[in-house]
Symmetry: C2
Subunit: 584 residues, 2 copies
Amino acid sequence: MTVLEKINSPQDVKKLSIEEMNSLADDIRSAIINRVNTIGGHLGPDLGIAEAAIAMHYVFNSPEDKFVFDVSHQVYPHKMLTGRKHGFVDPSRFLEISGYSNPQESEHDHFVIGHTSTSVSLATGLAKARDLKNEKYNVIALIGDGSLSGGEAYEGFNNAAELDSNMIIIINDNEMSIAPNEGGLYKNLAELRNTNGQAVNNVFKAIGFDYYYVEEGNNVEALISAFEKVKDTNRPTVVHIHTLKGKGYEPAVLDKETYHWHIPGFLDKKTGDIAFETESYNSITKDFLLKKKQSGEPVVAITAATPGVFEFNPDFREKMGKNYTDVGIAEEHAIAYASGLAKNGAKPVLCLMSSFVQRTYDQMSQDLALNNSPATVLIYWGGISGADMTHLCTFDIPLISNIPNIVYLAPTSKEEYLAMLEWSYNQNEHPVFIRVPATELVSTGIEDNTDYSKLNKYKLVKKGEKAAIIAAGTFFALGEQVKQELKTQTGIDATLINPCYLTGVDEELLNELKKDHSLVITLEDGELDGGFGEKVTRFYGNSCMKVLNFGAKKEFTDRVPLEELYNRYHLTKELIVNDMKEVL
Amino acid sequence: MTVLEKINSPQDVKKLSIEEMNSLADDIRSAIINRVNTIGGHLGPDLGIAEAAIAMHYVFNSPEDKFVFDVSHQVYPHKMLTGRKHGFVDPSRFLEISGYSNPQESEHDHFVIGHTSTSVSLATGLAKARDLKNEKYNVIALIGDGSLSGGEAYEGFNNAAELDSNMIIIINDNEMSIAPNEGGLYKNLAELRNTNGQAVNNVFKAIGFDYYYVEEGNNVEALISAFEKVKDTNRPTVVHIHTLKGKGYEPAVLDKETYHWHIPGFLDKKTGDIAFETESYNSITKDFLLKKKQSGEPVVAITAATPGVFEFNPDFREKMGKNYTDVGIAEEHAIAYASGLAKNGAKPVLCLMSSFVQRTYDQMSQDLALNNSPATVLIYWGGISGADMTHLCTFDIPLISNIPNIVYLAPTSKEEYLAMLEWSYNQNEHPVFIRVPATELVSTGIEDNTDYSKLNKYKLVKKGEKAAIIAAGTFFALGEQVKQELKTQTGIDATLINPCYLTGVDEELLNELKKDHSLVITLEDGELDGGFGEKVTRFYGNSCMKVLNFGAKKEFTDRVPLEELYNRYHLTKELIVNDMKEVL
């Protein structure tokens, strides 16, 4: 019987000897590797935090004492210790347990968390509420070193330092963000590690925290000793623990970036490298950037700590050299930085994942759009997906497209994407966003010579009659299917339009349609509320044109299969044509 | 002849003696006081920075050397030294020069800036572009101590520290934000001031900056000496200068908060206090909060460094005691903190200005809405205005109302507002936002007993026929006028609806209207794109109902009089009725 088999709640952890806890850490790691190898997930950070999670549950009393796990990349061991080990040891039940902190699953989780740098702020709220109600217990935020570069984390630290009561922040320092850490703060963390926490420079002490350092962050005894020292403190306190990311799985220790998060099946492979040999939207983007760099142009490829999303691997980063900036987890700064670069004649191309661009509304509006800085921002993974509710990419069109001055483009093919990218890169008038298709590469084989400086000029792909289909970006292919299906079912030869622009309507073309069309439908791969289609509908409000908008409902979905969502939202050719027939 | 009269460009500053520069500082202060007393504006921070601006232009060579002024609260002296003194000495030309940094005005301004904590990020972009192009000059960001609490500032510092080249950050430490500073960082700034910059704890050194301290931040000679030391440095460098906010105008020194920004006419008054004796939306909000506090409830009134917007004066803050939190300039943290408070049984009421809530989209979505934390967020000043382009409050409806789970309410009267506030405060299901009317108090005299837990239930105020007017929030009064005008002009007795909710449509009522109405109009005090009206229009897309949406165009406007905007957007009863008649 493994030790993990005996653990059904934190109470069981408290009965263990040190030796048993060490075995438990190994059991936990085996389970993590098994789960991630089967369904994918966060590997390196969870492997490194097993001992700390055990020590936390040994010393503190969850759920009375409250743990908040930043970004949830380190939450698996905690889940296994709080009645959810079946999600890690029983393959048939893996999918019952999400990869993120979730109060629906357990009273030991207090928030749904999936974006970084939020734990200290959330925990400060818990602590303040506790104090106002005159309750007594510990509030503990666990935050990785990578998450420390985010502005919200800093704001939280700054405010937590003013609490005149118990607040414990455990910094899990494994010397890595998703990719290597970037930023001045990390020099200080290194200095602290190198001096066993004794360095004179100490940002945490400087802003008012008590500070403890644990060099052996994978040693249960050392951790228990440190946590016991700070338990029931009445001061804002930082416990800085130095852990080994990937501990227990050698490839993950040697290549921390590749194994931070991994798709299933890595145990069968010799190395962690995944070769991407076929052409993709990622590969052509990288080729574009490298070519600019090699021509000596002042291009700057920018990421905010997630180079893997764009396949900006170490080789690419090395080739880009000074023309590559990873700003760390700092999307706000990334946008303002891009604005500064563009204003001073450089050519920034900022790559952000749809879910994370949410961090930057004000910077997009004020730093970028108000200044009309001609930066290029590439939005990846935009669209409806079956992802965890913390990582939905459904909202970027409403978020971005209602900001004045921004041009948001939705390419439908490789050729269109490259033409848009080239135009955006060379122009000096607008901040331009491009929604990089989150699909396999679609190639028309025909070079795109469109002049994209004529804003909001839609492409009339096929002129028909009665019904018009305006199909944006990745849903253009669906538009083609709908056209075909409608023809088959009704004989109607519909007009097909590729709008290209998500930020405005082509009034001339839409007016033209009034002549021989009675129905216009819009298709967009994202939330309907505040999105693209509503702009078209509003345009036709004073006319007899009927308009149906197809896209996602305003809701957070959680790991709902894409097919189910498409059915729910009527995003199949059959369901769309049915809806059209009702109106026609 | 004053010294200021001789200054037409920075070149003229370089010719001055120290004595003349001291006179110039006094001239500048007189001009600031005169301008602000005439048209309003930022007083305290500009008075304190006169010497520093002079020394900056004496030592550096703008525009080759590039200055970026954070939030622009300290930009007046710089404007006077760069060919724009007429905007400060000639009352007939005051309005030609904005209160914010603006490249349209001068080559010495590089960005439009009006939100805080952005200068370091923007300047880092300028510096990086310079380096890529192998150019040589100084990039200087000036940032106030108050702005240092914002996450974007921290992200910028963290990244700037990695620059291997010239980057100078002048921290203008006047010991005040708009209100007193909050947060652990300020303990460190105090420690540095108290030790003449020699304290062991030094956040700036800790993250990798060279650091210089100037105690006499209003002494031109001391400043020149410091700036000459760091000029042409090839290292990221902080110059921390200690200035006197309000220098030269005693009331502004004694009451720094009141005179941070001031409306015109203060010179005629004995003190800076402005008495607000009449009942207002601000006063009833404060009464509500105080009553909860006095009943011993765990209410927490939260602001992000702008208590003045809500008239949270020192007296109110003192009475609220531990039930009041000013998180500093940290809107992101404010939202997450409120979520934590709500989850742990406290009753957070977070007050934010419409323009600044833009900082928090991701936190509203992830920290708050995804967790369904029942916090109350009050949005102030929402609506179309003649403000500077950096402070528009036109965008909060598209920003907030398309986030799932959030309920956004638009009260039309005192009674409705208090009923909504009471409901929001007591319920435990939803994050609730309320758009506090930015108008004088409207009282119906009739208590509002609506059950707001019935989401998206619109109020049918007056049943009529043919046309229906859905008039939201502060535009409800306009709706009443339109109804009257339509009746007068056409005899049509239109239906009048108060939607109350900005986040959804009342399908039952909208369907009902189809029976005997052929036109529905929506009125909203904000941007049309992505806003409230489009939801109504989309609902009617498959029907014969015509829908006209009235609101603001998607654009940044800059100090355009409200009347002109209302005409531009057809937001007068006459223009609306004209548009209706064309369709009816």
